[in-house]
Symmetry: C2
Subunit: 335 residues, 2 copies
Amino acid sequence: MPAITIDEIARLAGVSKTTVSRVLNNKPDVSQQTRETIMALIEQYDFHPHALAKAISLQKSQSIGLIIPHEAQYIFSNPFYVEVMRGVSTEVDRLGYYLLICYPHSQNYVDIYKQKRVDGFIILSPGSLHKNIFKSLYDAEAPFISTSMIPDEKEMVYVDVDNKRGARLAMEHLISLGHRRIAFIGKPRLASSIERLNGYRETLQEHGIAYDDNLVMISGDASISGGCSAAHEMLRRANPTAFFLVNDLLAMGAIKAIQESGLNVPRDVSVIGFDDIPLSECIYPPLTTIRQPAFEKGVRAARLLVQYLEKKKKPKSQLLDVDLVVRNSTAAVRS
Amino acid sequence: MPAITIDEIARLAGVSKTTVSRVLNNKPDVSQQTRETIMALIEQYDFHPHALAKAISLQKSQSIGLIIPHEAQYIFSNPFYVEVMRGVSTEVDRLGYYLLICYPHSQNYVDIYKQKRVDGFIILSPGSLHKNIFKSLYDAEAPFISTSMIPDEKEMVYVDVDNKRGARLAMEHLISLGHRRIAFIGKPRLASSIERLNGYRETLQEHGIAYDDNLVMISGDASISGGCSAAHEMLRRANPTAFFLVNDLLAMGAIKAIQESGLNVPRDVSVIGFDDIPLSECIYPPLTTIRQPAFEKGVRAARLLVQYLEKKKKPKSQLLDVDLVVRNSTAAVRS
DNA sequence: ATGAAAGCGCTAACAC
DNA sequence: GTGTTAGCGCTTTCAT
């Protein structure tokens, strides 16, 4: 049987659909009597208003698109991003919206917006190489929030952490342990990585330690195995006493490489990561890292977007805190 | 400016919207001439048909709901489930559908269906304790595919692996290495876990090894730390020479517990997991496990659902392969 | 307090 | 080949 509609309910109640609509949306101007009759009917016939018909009438889909600008593989295999996604989806749900996953291929996200399938977007930690995405979003006048800050994108609303500060926290920690030959392994073209490199350089400089190009590497593959091979190469070419890696997965790879080289972490070489994914305290040795609130990042992004949509004006970007989490992968430099 | 509509395009082209609709949907019965004019106009005005209006007219939302019946935390923190989700979302996208994340709280998934927001569902690895979900889905006549088989749910279409066979593979491996005191650590009320326990028992029996209740445990917390504490307790109470755990996360926890007890894996105790998440080959020692095709599971589920929706008849359930992946966490029993 | 009617943007059966 | 018209299910303005 075709689902029952508002017209049917109206007919059964002997009223117009206007009145039913009023009841449906808890509007005033309906007698208690009528309201009850209608509610009973709604209950009885298990009537559910057609969401799309409602959306088309209200000109609001009540849906939000989550744009995954990177390779899905890359995003889904890093627990940090997955946790941000969880935050986004949980909060979007809580706020009474629906979340649509959007990949940049196939159906273009802008088309999805122009088709009115979503009211706005959250874009998951894009980098500078995604400027074309921002541009098309602006051109379409689509509201969106980014979960990473992008330099020179002054218009963009984002939720992020102070990456430079996080890096400084990491570096201060290592330097206070006596390390001076500190390797940095980053990711290509991501503002977060670049900011962390800046923090790395500044902290070195403040402590009078010369910056050495050989100690800096960019790994295209930001996974455990990427970290492992990068660290192997670094070990060979620059003999650092400590590693600072821009995420925990890379750090886990580095630990592996160091161990494979017959060295001990942290006795021979210290390792510090970034993110503090749950895994990091489970590995051996438990990883010292910079914690950033992944779930909260997603939650905030969702809230900001909904605020954007409902107040119809751009909210302010937000910066969340980072913390140093000391575990056992870092120790005083070997004398 | 409000987005341009089909009426506008029709007016500009001096034709009826029927004709424009024909062009939009690549239907016949339009002269080449007219078609080109209209297409030019569509291009020029960057016209995108309103997806919801279309959906309402076609009585098809072109969207699929992904139901996450468990705690989101539990699902998102296990790379296996995340990979299934990636498979689902990738294939759904490829097939020209949209994926909506549905949590069982707040807005009920059945309501989402009745509101016509989705055409059907994929339910992510539910267990027997989710029978009420299936029931409500059946009652609503909502098409859905499960990514796990549930005993006694004969009507249900699912994509799964042969869990019992996987368990037998694991057990044959351990037994062939000489182990006889093999601990089993499972999860509560999940068919997959129960089937694996059945495989465990049967294999023991076939090899004339007595089943010992003390060697079997169910861990409510199916994470690394859950595996760790369960294994600690198991070590204390039953002194097994090998562990079979129903997922890799638990197995990683077990390895940790064993190491914390001053024992060596695999020299003193062997450990085998299930799933083969990417992490498993990165830990120390690399984990021997039963591989199941997570991504493919998601892809198949998506395909099956779309087939279900488009042919309007229930497709057949599918069983995917499992394989034993031997790494370094298992070895011959110590004599 | 209630309803008639227009409007949201599209598709499709049927007529010409 | 093209248009007319009804229909999809809801909200809302404006009367009463």
